[in-house]
Subunit: 255 residues, 2 copies
DNA sequence: CGAGGGTTTGAAGTGCATCAAATAGTGTGG
DNA sequence: CCACACTATTTGATGCACTTCAAACCCTCG
């Protein structure tokens, strides 16, 4: 797996402050408020596999991912694991900390060497009550995230396995897109995790990927995927999806 | 279908104000603010099947359901319909109105004779900026809702059709539970819609219900479902779900 | 080189969808 | 209150998608 740019040492105050101010979450806040958050931040470097908390634990902290990948998942009594999402830089979780006494509804684990910042739930709540702008920022981010989740639910309901994979690839493309280069992307984490993320078994994932290759002409070498014909891929995947052609995410990144 | 208590005429100012103040969304707001919302509210009675807006329309209004059932759904190019959720009294939608210029990511339709209140997006945004308490309330409701959605995603990934149905029934039970009576509930809307809501075809739904009868001893007459043995039902459904036994929703209602 | 995890492949099974048709249920006008 | 029309629901037969279990392959890293 390609390494992300995780420093093994926590950032210093200035670095952290710069990172925080780059987040939509903290946009428009006063320097004082930012400094306050930075002071009270707990920064952690997480080794691969590190569990942050388990489903059912009381919500004590609110987290923002700085680097790496954090997996949110639920485990059933029968031992199946449902991966709810896999988050990376700039994503946050635990925002239900604005309730008191609630519990995490999933477990969180570092997929790879990762880095997160966190704050005690009380601080987030206190500051959100104090600074309307912060509350609004959280709200916007959550509304944004909700759209993604709704899309995800649609995908689970109406797309086939190969289509879900293709749709995921298209979303990756849209993030890094440079129109002048051949669209080539790297799968951000293990195929087996990706499979779970998409609600599939890894065997099914593997087979579905083969189907996708045949149908859309993409090629795969390890984690590297190249997409010679984006339109073909979009057409194959998005017909079973309500997003107009090409994909909504793609459109956003073009705008 | 059993009729909900929809009045055919809009409520008067006082009624509406009482309804609004009962919403968690408006909890703790000043009388003035409530009155302001009430004044600017547009109340609509929606005939069965009425489309409120279509996916892709610009977000002009923020809605709260007063009575009835509102279906949020997406349609694929191939004509499949994915029902994202079916909302009822006290639920709200269109809260992405706090962004400007965004578009609805699904369509909304009245399933039955329903009644909704709505406000121009600008009013919601303006008031959320003005009254921190409102922003916090929206935020809390959204965090709450997110938990439901995450659960839903898990269900789609790991539960079988009969288990999903059983889980849905358990949630209904928990809403109306009176420990002293035999747990009997009414399906809130058409079985065919319920099927879509759970990501199934109606034929599959019907068959899955038969399986559930055999496995858990429930009986069904039309829309009436009685559950002689809740534990058996929970056990059958929740083994494939990460919520502890009995179901989290059930626990909440007991607390 | 060899151990161990991640990934792919094969054969067989299960669950859900599809298509087609029967049945139950609901609302209508007579 | 009944008969008809129409819709919702159920049932049957069959097919496809995804899973399961098992084994091979591959890749990395000590």
């Amino acid at each position: 797996m390609h390494s992300s740019s995780v420093h093994s040492l926590p950032a210093n105050e200035k670095e952290r402050c710069a990172f925080l101010s780059s987040l939509p979450l903290f946009r428009g806040l006063s320097q004082d408020t930012l400094a306050y958050f930075s002071e009270h931040a707990r920064e952690e470097v997480l080794p691969k596999g590190k569990i942050l908390f388990l489903q059912g634990d009381p919500v004590n902290y609110f987290y923002v991912v700085m680097d790496g990948w954090i997996k949110l998942f639920r485990e059933t009594l029968e031992g199946d694991e449902a991966v709810i999402d896999v988050l990376t830089t700039h994503h946050f979780f635990g925002e239900m900390a604005v309730f008191d006494g609630k519990r995490y509804s999933w477990s969180a684990q570092a997929v790879d060497l990762s880095r997160v910042v966190s704050w005690p739930a009380a601080i987030l709540e206190e500051q959100a009550l104090l600074h309307n702008r912060l509350a609004i920022n959280i709200l916007r981010s959550m509304a944004d995230y909700r759209e993604q989740r709704d899309r995800e639910i649609e995908h689970l309901k109406v797309q086939t396995a190969p289509q879900r994979i293709g749709c995921f690839l298209l979303r990756l493309v849209s993030e890094h897109w440079d129109k002048n280069t051949v669209p080539t992307i790297h799968l951000p984490y293990d195929k087996s995790l990706l499979a779970l993320r998409l609600g599939l078994k890894s065997e099914t994932f593997s087979r579905a990927l083969n189907v996708l290759k045949k149908e859309t002409g993409i090629t795969i070498r390890g984690a590297a995927v190249s997409i010679p014909n984006i339109d073909k891929l979009s057409h194959y995947c998005c017909g079973a999806c309500s997003n107009e052609f090409p994909c909504q995410d793609l459109k956003q990144s073009n705008a």
